[in-house]
Symmetry: C3
Subunit: 273 residues, 3 copies
């Protein structure tokens, strides 16, 4: 890490993850997901596995109404279109009025002009957390030449920490950079999550599901930094459990849901170390 | 159950389920599914597992043409939008002219105004079956304050039996209320299905797939009440088989498809009892 | 096979599949998928399992921009709509200008007028490969009365070889006819693929995923005929491996992804024989 990082990164704690996971299961937060056609089903299943209640409502006729009653909102730009832009703007405005936390997942921002401009607009409207890979976060932070390759990052997560911290300070949000190590920055602090497994990149929607899980955690934990750290810890520890039992990406995706469902304090403490 | 229930509920029979399942496998009905982006893949896989032939056709340029050649039509409001409203209206009209049975699944009706108004319109156009959870059915029946929480019911299915029976009589349809116990009402009779497993609520799209399976069964069984009872019995017995072999919701969803594929008279009789 | 077939069919070779699979894993081609809501997630997972990098970009604001940077483009008509038609036209034009190979998957063409007309237009714009079942290919080739039943073929693949060859010659493309035996025609040659398993028809999206895999292979192999033969061999051999380990379609879909991930030269040679 470089000298301009706001503070030395500390590891996200297993204890926070344990606490937040317990609240998810007890309260079952209603998460309004505006997401893409590729990962909608898997995202819903991840949320159901941890006890949250997902609902995908995406038309402009309904998105504002639902954002007001939901406990958290996810705005994922994976398959964005003009209609969805209208619906997302309405949901973000309604969430703002209602004080509902919302998460921005800027999928492929930097690689495509239309969504890059829309993400630059959205990020100024007060997301609790912005979650993306290094290329997406650097693009959103305004770094030149940061564009990824399709939906994949061309940069290591550690190289996006400074950009993430700058973005967090500038717009007053928490930024989660996903990668081999995850970095979570709120402008003053950096949390690191070292758990996880490469198989997470061989199943579509694991990153997108993390964005949804961050939203769910924001519904039950008032600190976005702690919520993002807990969500990332929960998913990456479950991924380690699942990978140990899976010969390939098909069985890994199945085991990941089983592992999330069965995840307990003991496993979280053992894997976070 | 209360006194105004049209008749004492009787259990849906394993024999009807056996007969209808055999017809599904023999005839392979073509089921036109207009459904949501979350569950489309899982719905198709459930139909394929029992031998039906699903096709998702959802644009207004094609929905009427396809509803005329399909053996049954599913109209699921999960991610409804103005474009889909136009396409669904056209499909319902075409199904009506062709005499093709169609099923209405009023996802989250009551919780959101746009779809609540559209469902109230659709239900008067002759669905063979309306399938939903207790909150959705009560909302559609006109009960005040019946709205669920997102896509989940806030009411037990037994509390919706009177409303379901009233709705069935008023619009001349069969109403299937999903829950821990499923109640199927045609206005004069109530069938009960007691099989099933709580894990069904931990996988997205199980309820939506039941709506599609009801449509498939309506293609091969002229009594909507018997068709709905058979579909519910088939899915809930398969769920019991699958749950016994599954440590969590990921493996349960996989096993449910395997169990549907392998389901036979012996298992149906053993589980229905 | 009939006398008008351009040449006696020869078996696609395991060695070509081995070579192309190695290139997929080494180069990780970026595949721009414009596909349908039913199979988008499964398609992405199939591509990820073989080492390709899928990205689903489907709005007209972005499709041309992305087709220019992608290594291959898939145009699948499964849930086509007027908006998607506009986006697909733009992507096809951009792919043409950039010299990017693109694959047309004419789902349910012949059964529905809107998409049949659009597919007839698209096929004249230079697809590297057209992949479909026998009914779809015969309809696109202009055979009267060739329409399938929904998304399923009503004709055996061998009966579409002549039509496929004629279509290939007329528009200068390679045509892949999927079925119990797969036939791949470029107008002068016919390749046959005899591997595969009936369980492939019990999981939604296996054919659609094959279209995407053909596109990925076209990104790393300049002969569309060889690319289509390799893609078909890779998927059908993985299907044989998966079917041997799977009691039903749920576990088969999971095992298919695991088998693609683990597929090696030894298994390809052993199954192709």
């Amino acid at each position: 890490m470089t000298a301009v990082t706001p503070s030395a990164g500390v590891r996200a704690s297993a204890e926070d993850a344990i606490l937040v996971l317990d609240r998810l299961r007890t309260r079952g937060p209603l998460v309004h997901c505006m997401t893409n056609i590729v990962v909608a089903g898997f995202t819903a299943n991840v949320l159901l596995a941890v006890g949250a209640s997902p609902a995908m409502v995406e038309s402009s006729e309904e998105s504002a109404e639902f954002a007001q009653v939901a406990d958290a909102v996810l705005v994922n730009l994976g398959t964005v279109s003009p209609d969805k832009v209208t619906a997302m703007r309405a949901a973000v405005a309604a969430a703002g009025h209602a004080g509902t936390p919302w998460v921005l997942d800027p999928v492929a921002v930097g690689a495509l002009g239309f969504r890059t401009r829309f993400a630059a607009e959205l990020v100024t409207h007060g997301p609790a957390v912005v979650r993306g890979n290094a290329s997406e976060i650097l693009s959103l932070a305004g770094a030149a030449g940061a564009a990824g390759r399709g939906v994949d990052s061309t940069t290591s997560s550690v190289d996006a920490v400074d950009g993430a911290a700058e973005l967090a300070r500038r717009v007053g949000t928490t930024v989660a950079v996903s990668g081999a190590v995850d970095y979570l920055c709120d402008g003053d602090h950096v949390l690191e999550v070292h758990t996880g497994h490469p198989m997470m990149t061989r199943v579509t929607g694991v990153g997108c599901a993390l964005g949804a899980l961050v939203a769910a955690c924001c519904a039950v934990e008032s600190s976005p930094l702690v919520a993002a750290g807990a969500a990332t810890t929960i998913l990456t520890v479950a991924a380690e459990v699942a990978a140990a039992a899976s010969p390939g990406p098909g069985s890994f995706a199945v085991s990941l849901l089983d592992a999330l469902y069965a995840l307990d304090a003991r496993a979280l403490r053992a894997h976070v170390g």
